[in-house]
Symmetry: C2
Subunit: 201 residues, 2 copies
DNA sequence: GACAATACGGAACGTGGTTCCGCTTCGCAA
DNA sequence: TTGCGAAGCGGAACCACGTTCCGTATTGTC
């Protein structure tokens, strides 16, 4: 999130009409319900229907579809950030902390079926992509840096790259029993953890 | 492409009308051109326009959009299969062979901007997904098995899982200079290569 | 109670994949 | 060569989406 972007303070401000505030909450709840049932790709119209409002109302509160997704999952992303900071404070191995943190992130993505694909969609630009990465990358960066300082990794992978990689691994892993995003993220982290002779890049 | 080339005996069969065969080739060429310029997400209508035919004609030859994509890239997939077999025949380290093969696959995906996303799209089922994986997974399986027998990997990752993982890593890496799918695939393979104490899964 | 400002609903628009069907072209056979 | 059925063609039409627009309804204030 760019500087100066005030969080939800504005959104919840009491300078707004009561019906507007009520509808926003209704929408958030409805969206959470629909996303849980049918994945984050559910049509906007359906969320509007579930909330008992018109689509116009949805777009009044959330100018783009992705803003709604962000709003629904914002607190989970924040929780992830908090977890990262707690893990950093903990004395144990930075690499173990990174691994635990990534596990939590992967769980989050996998649990909400299809959430990751919102990141992956080519025509995203801004919206979700920005929010998720802007918040998570700095935490990841610090975890990675700590691991580097502790000599537990020698990889030159950046935090942004790692986050995107993890996110991509979580794509489309939902109902396919042959594909386990968690397992693959572990393999990727194993590659991050101990890199022997670097291959010619 | 002269007769007796490779696969689609039926498609190229001479029981079909000449205009039909001509149009199929025209379409394939047009699609290749459009895909190269604007990525594999280019609208069907545009491919039809580029070929100078109606959309109906596109769908006559390729019942689904993804069939067209498959047809355009089929020979590259086949080349990848061939490479895998050549590498298997070669005497050197199976793991090195696997790495070289994956590099070639990643190059293929990254070069055609957005190709990988066709795999990733949730509502795919069948089509491209099936063709790519059905052909590539067996080769990957043999490379992986060879590496396992040579004691160069102890991972329990399956070939399908690995292919999907690699494919996912190649998503949306096109114009983002901060994200290098090749580098991430190397990290993933590093994790495959030497796995120390397995983490609790 | 009246009047802005604010918010709402849902029809309408643009864009995408896909289908349908009347018309054209081809290939064979008389 | 011509006739005719089958194969193929074009593109309008359909459906599903995200998003925009605007006439109407609601709210808060004086």
């Amino acid at each position: 999130m760019p500087a100066g972007d005030t969080p939800s303070r504005d959104t919840q401000s009491r300078t707004r009409r009561v019906d507007a505030r009520r509808n926003e909450k209704t929408l958030l709840d409805a969206a959470a319900r629909v996303f849980a049932n049918q994945g984050v790709d559910a049509p906007v119209r359906q969320i509007a229907a579930e909330a008992g409002v018109g689509v116009g109302t949805v777009y009044r509160h959330f100018p783009q579809r992705s803003d709604l997704v962000i709003a629904v999952y914002r607190h989970q992303v924040d929780a992830c950030v908090d977890l990262g900071e707690r893990l950093l404070g903990r004395g144990s191995s930075p690499l173990a902390a990174l691994e635990e943190w990534v596990d939590a992130f992967v769980d989050f993505l996998v649990t909400k079926h299809g959430l990751a694909s919102v990141n992956g969609g080519q025509a995203d630009e801004g919206g979700l992509h920005a929010y998720f990465l802007d918040h998570l990358v700095p935490v990841c960066e610090r975890l990675l840096e700590a691991a580097r300082e502790a000599g537990e990794t020698s990889t030159d992978i950046g935090a942004y790259e790692l986050m995107r990689g993890i996110g991509n691994l979580c794509l489309f892993g939902g109902d396919d029993t042959r594909y386990d995003a968690r397992k693959l993220s572990h393999v990727l982290l194993a590659g991050v953890a101990l890199r022997r002779e670097p291959r010619a890049d």
